[in-house]
């Protein structure tokens, strides 16, 4: 049995291939089942949803895996530290202070840029918390993040209550775009940003691998740890902005996906873990959306299910081994 386990563990490429096939299968099911013959309407409509789901899955998976690598911890995710609640807060503030008229007239790309800048600034603060002054307590950082996340969410919902109901609908439209009405403009910008992040990340894949050994070992092996960690946090901030802009905050999904991917491919190599996580996320979102549409006829929110399962995983991870 142990030999069999080792054999599975030794073949991450095969696991990746199977995952790829499952993803394609899910995508085809999603596109083709129950189309009712109106291909010219159904295909582009479902195609946009599919693209959104895959892009969001990719952004969440990659940001979580990278964040866990740099923080050296499998329990932390950007979402648990309040990254995506901050995004919602920024959006809300913007609308509250500018009003929907002005907010809508602003160039969405410029807006996205400003939002990402603020997110990057927040990740700099977090960076200081995580790595400044040499090894702060993980529990402290985790707790701070959770509290900040709640603060951001509460502030956002407070402002939302003060806003004119009509404005609020405008706002809700913005960040709860969900897969059902993806904004094409936003989708394109998100795709380009994600592509940019991927190109930067691709060139650093082997450096990411070294970070698995921890800060001191990375420095010993000649990696500029400070610089690499800073780059990763910027990449993470951009990806979280992308996923939050497209579907809103999903707290535990990243955790679920990253740990599933690590369990499936069992390797430290990011060239394998990152695609695996992205594919797992894609399968979850596309299959979830498919079941939601075809089986439950839109009666349930997939995010509720994802949060429920993810939350259970989070608690079980905390119970099993308190992170060092």
């Amino acid at each position: 049995m142990s030999a069999e386990r080792v054999a599975v563990a030794r073949r991450p490429e095969r696991t990746l291939f199977i995952l790829g096939c499952v993803t394609i299968g899910c995508a085809l099911l999603f596109l083709l089942v129950n189309a009712g013959g109106q291909w010219d309407f159904v295909l582009p409509f479902r195609g946009r949803k599919l693209a959104t789901a895959l892009l969001v899955g990719y952004a969440i998976a990659v940001s979580t895996v990278l964040f866990q690598t740099v923080s050296g911890n499998r329990v932390l995710t950007p979402a648990i530290l309040g990254f995506d609640n901050l995004y919602v807060l920024i959006q809300t503030c913007l609308l509250y202070f500018l009003g929907s008229g002005k907010a809508a007239s602003l160039d969405p790309r410029l807006l996205f840029g400003v939002e990402i800048l603020i997110m990057v600034a927040f990740s700099a603060v977090l960076y200081w918390g995580l790595f400044g002054g040499g090894g702060r307590s993980l529990h402290l950082v985790l707790l701070t993040g959770v509290v900040l996340g709640v603060l951001f969410r509460s502030l956002a919902s407070f402002l939302q209550r003060l806003i004119d109901p009509n404005e609020f609908i405008f706002l809700q439209d913005r960040f709860f775009a969900s897969f059902n009405n993806p904004d094409q403009e936003l989708l394109l910008v998100s795709f380009l940003l994600t592509l940019g992040v991927s190109i930067v990340g691709f060139r650093m894949l082997r450096t990411f691998d070294v970070l698995v050994l921890g800060r001191e070992m990375s420095i010993n092996l000649g990696v500029d740890h400070q610089r690499t960690a800073a780059i990763i946090l910027v990449l993470v901030a951009i990806l979280v902005s992308v996923s939050s802009a497209l579907v809103g905050p999903v707290t535990f999904f990243g955790l679920l996906v990253s740990n599933l991917a690590h369990a499936l491919v069992r390797t430290y190599r990011h060239a394998l873990v990152l695609p695996a996580a992205a594919l797992v996320a894609g399968v979850c979102l596309v299959a979830g959306q498919f079941i939601l549409e075809q089986v439950f006829a839109f009666n349930t929110n997939p995010r509720v299910i994802i949060e429920f399962v993810g939350g259970l995983v989070f608690i079980s991870m905390l119970m099993r081994k308190a992170p060092v």
Binding site: A9, T207, V210, E216, D224, T267
Partner: protein, 252 residues
Amino acid sequence: MIEARNVTKRYGDALVVDDVTLRLPVGGITSIIGPNGAGKSTLLSMVSRVMPMSSGTVLVDGLDVRTTPGEVLARRLAILRQDNHLTSRLTVRELVTFGRYPHSKGRPTVQDREHVERAIHHMGLDALAERFLDELSGGQRQRAFVAMVLCQDTDYVLLDEPLNGLDLKHSVAMMKQLRTAADTLNKSIVMVLHDLNFASCYSDHLIAMRDGKVAFQGRPEEIMRPDVLRAVYDLDISIQRIDGDWIATHYR
């Protein structure tokens, strides 16, 4: 040569390493000894750039560790600290292969593979090469990490308490392997040791620290003396000469 000039580490008001100026000898084994809190590990960490210093300069072959690119230093100096915590599962061979990163940037060549196999063999890990680190005992894991820094093939190897968690047999084996590495591969090995007698039997040079300063340094026979050790440890330690080694007895 590794040279520390006026190296100081301060945490708030507490001086952990106090203005240390030191030249570490080239070649052979140098052991840093001293009581807890003397600043031994801190000094080693600052010399190896893993920990920033409050003030002072460290030169490795004339290169300032604060300004020289990390990848250049990584081919001259290797450090192994205690408590290496990994978040991913790695096999012994994968870990040791990381030692070649400064040379191959993650794309090991045939020569790199040879280095890896030699280091695995040198540390007696042949049978364990495909095992995951979390399936090994503390001592085996420690040997795997030492194999990794040896595989890095640097002139200077700094080790923070390499005998930590090893039983008697494996401690002796580790010290012999390090001695061989120093003698046959011409490496300069500097380590922090708590066991005085291992330090005395295997080192060419001893550095005794106390209260953040270098209190004494010299050959083992110069340091392994009751008056010197009393000044370092505040303890009456008698020294016996047994089979050509200076042995401290300090158990009563």
